[in-house]
C-alpha cells in the first residue's frame, strides 16, 4: 500500500533517460512510448492561485477552502507555502465556520516539486492544513500523507501532527 503510493507519487527526472537509452535500445523504445503517453495524457499542473479550491486534511472542521491570496510567490503557491483562504464547506460544530478567512499551509500539491536527489514529488490533490496567524495548527491531527519538504519550510509542527510522512 505505502510502497505503491510512494512509487506512484515520486517520479524520476529527465536526466535518467539518457543513461537508460545508452544501455539498452529495446528498452529505449518502450520508455520512449511511455514518455509520449505520459506527456500526452497528463494535464500540466499549475500553481495554487486565487479561486483554487483546496481540500482541508485536518480535524479543524473545514472541508474545502478557496484560496484568495498566496503569500509567497507572484504566480501562486506551491508545496509548503502559506495561503490565505476562505472556508467554503465546513462541518457542523467545527472549529471554523463557513465564510471565515483563514491561513493555510499547502501540504499536498498537484504541481510537482523537485527533490535534492533529482526525483519529483507530486500528488493527486491539493490539500491544506489550517493554521492561525502565528503559524500554529488549528486542528490537532493531520490526515493522509505529508511530504517531509515541510521541514525545510519550517513547518515541523504540521509534520509532528501528521500520521504518515511521505
Amino acid at each position: 500500500m505505502a510502497a505503491i503510493f510512494a512509487s506512484r507519487c515520486s517520479r524520476v527526472g529527465r536526466s535518467l533517460f539518457g543513461g537508460l537509452s545508452n544501455s539498452s535500445p529495446g528498452l529505449f523504445t518502450t520508455l520512449h512510448e511511455m514518455t509520449c503517453k505520459n506527456m500526452f495524457s497528463q494535464q500540466q499542473r499549475t500553481f495554487i492561485q486565487m479561486r483554487t479550491v483546496l481540500k482541508v486534511v485536518d480535524n479543524s472542521g473545514a472541508k474545502k477552502v478557496m484560496c484568495i491570496q498566496a503569500l509567497k510567490g507572484k504566480k501562486g503557491a506551491r508545496l509548503g507555502d502559506t495561503i490565505i483562504a476562505s472556508v467554503k464547506e465546513a462541518h457542523p460544530n467545527g472549529k471554523v465556520k463557513k465564510g471565515k478567512v483563514v491561513y493555510g499551509v499547502v501540504v499536498r500539491a498537484a504541481m510537482q516539486k523537485g527533490r535534492c536527489d533529482g526525483s519529483e514529488v507530486k500528488f493527486d490533490d491539493n490539500a491544506v492544513v489550517l493554521v492561525d496567524k502565528q503559524g500554529q495548527p488549528i486542528g490537532t491531527r493531520v490526515f493522509g500523507p505529508v511530504p517531509h519538504e515541510l521541514r525545510q519550510k519550517k513547518h515541523v509542527k504540521i509534520l509532528t501532527l501528521a500520521g504518515h510522512i511521505a
Binding site: 512509487s7 524520476v12 535518467l16 543513461g19 537508460l20 528498452l27 518502450t30 520508455l31 512510448e33 511511455m34 503517453k37 480535524n59 460544530n93 472549529k95 535534492c116 536527489d117 533529482g118 526525483s119 492561525d132 502565528q134 503559524g135 500554529q136 495548527p137 488549528i138 490537532t140 491531527r141 517531509h148 521541514r151 519550517k154 513547518h155 515541523v156 509542527k157 509534520l159 509532528t160 501532527l161 500520521g163 510522512i165
Partner: protein
C-alpha cells in the same frame, strides 16, 4: 497489460539507479563533518533540568518514520518560560560550537507566539509547549504506540487563552521521565 509490465520494469530500473545517488549523497554529507549532532539527548535533558521544565518526556520515534530519532516534549509554566526553554537550548548549541568558523544552529519555529516552540536539531526534535497547548494537541497520544486516539472537540482559542497556571509554586512538578 504490456504497458503495465513496462511500467514495472521502468520503476525497477529507476529505483536501482536512484540507489547510488543516495549512497553518494550520504557519503558526501558524512565527509561534511556533521558527525557531531547539534544537540545530544543527554545535553538536552541537562538543559531542560537546569531551566526547570515540567513533565519532560522523551519519545523514541518508530522506525518507519525517517525524519527524526527522538522527540522530546517539555512543558513550560508560562509563555515566557517556554521562550526561555528555547533560548537555553539555542545557547547550549552556541556554546558547544564555540570557535567553529561557521556556526550551525538548530532551526526554531514558533518563537514569536511562545505557545508551542519547536527546536529542530537534526535527529532530536524538542517541543516546548504551554500547559494548555500540550493538553490541546496531545502529542503523546499521537506518538506513543498503542494508545487509543480519542479526539476532543476543544476550541483552539479557548484552549490557548491565558488562565492561571496549574503549577503555581516555584517547586518543580513531579517528573515522569
Amino acid at each position: 497489460m504490456l504497458g503495465v509490465i513496462g511500467a514495472g520494469t521502468w520503476l525497477r530500473y529507476s529505483k536501482a539507479l536512484l540507489q547510488p545517488w543516495k549512497v553518494g549523497f550520504s557519503s558526501l554529507s558524512a565527509v561534511d563533518g556533521r558527525k557531531h549532532h547539534l544537540l545530544d539527548l543527554q545535553e538536552i535533558e541537562t538543559v531542560l533540568t537546569d531551566v526547570k521544565a515540567d513533565n519532560v518526556k522523551v519519545i523514541p520515534v518508530p522506525k518507519h518514520c525517517d525524519w527524526a530519532d527522538f522527540m522530546v516534549l517539555a512543558t513550560g509554566r508560562s509563555t515566557w518560560h517556554v521562550k526561555n526553554i528555547a533560548q537555553a537550548l539555542i545557547y547550549k548549541a552556541k556554546q558547544k560550537q564555540r570557535g567553529v568558523e561557521r556556526m550551525m544552529l538548530p532551526s526554531v519555529e514558533g518563537q514569536a507566539g511562545g505557545k508551542w516552540i519547536v527546536i529542530d536539531s537534526g535527529k532530536v526534535i524538542v517541543h516546548a509547549l504551554d500547559e494548555k497547548a500540550r493538553a490541546y494537541y496531545n502529542l503523546e497520544g499521537l506518538w506513543t504506540p498503542g494508545t487509543i486516539q480519542n479526539e476532543r472537540e476543544e476550541d483552539l482559542q479557548k484552549a490557548l487563552v491565558k488562565v492561571r497556571r496549574k503549577n503555581n509554586s516555584k517547586k518543580p512538578a513531579q517528573k515522569n521521565a
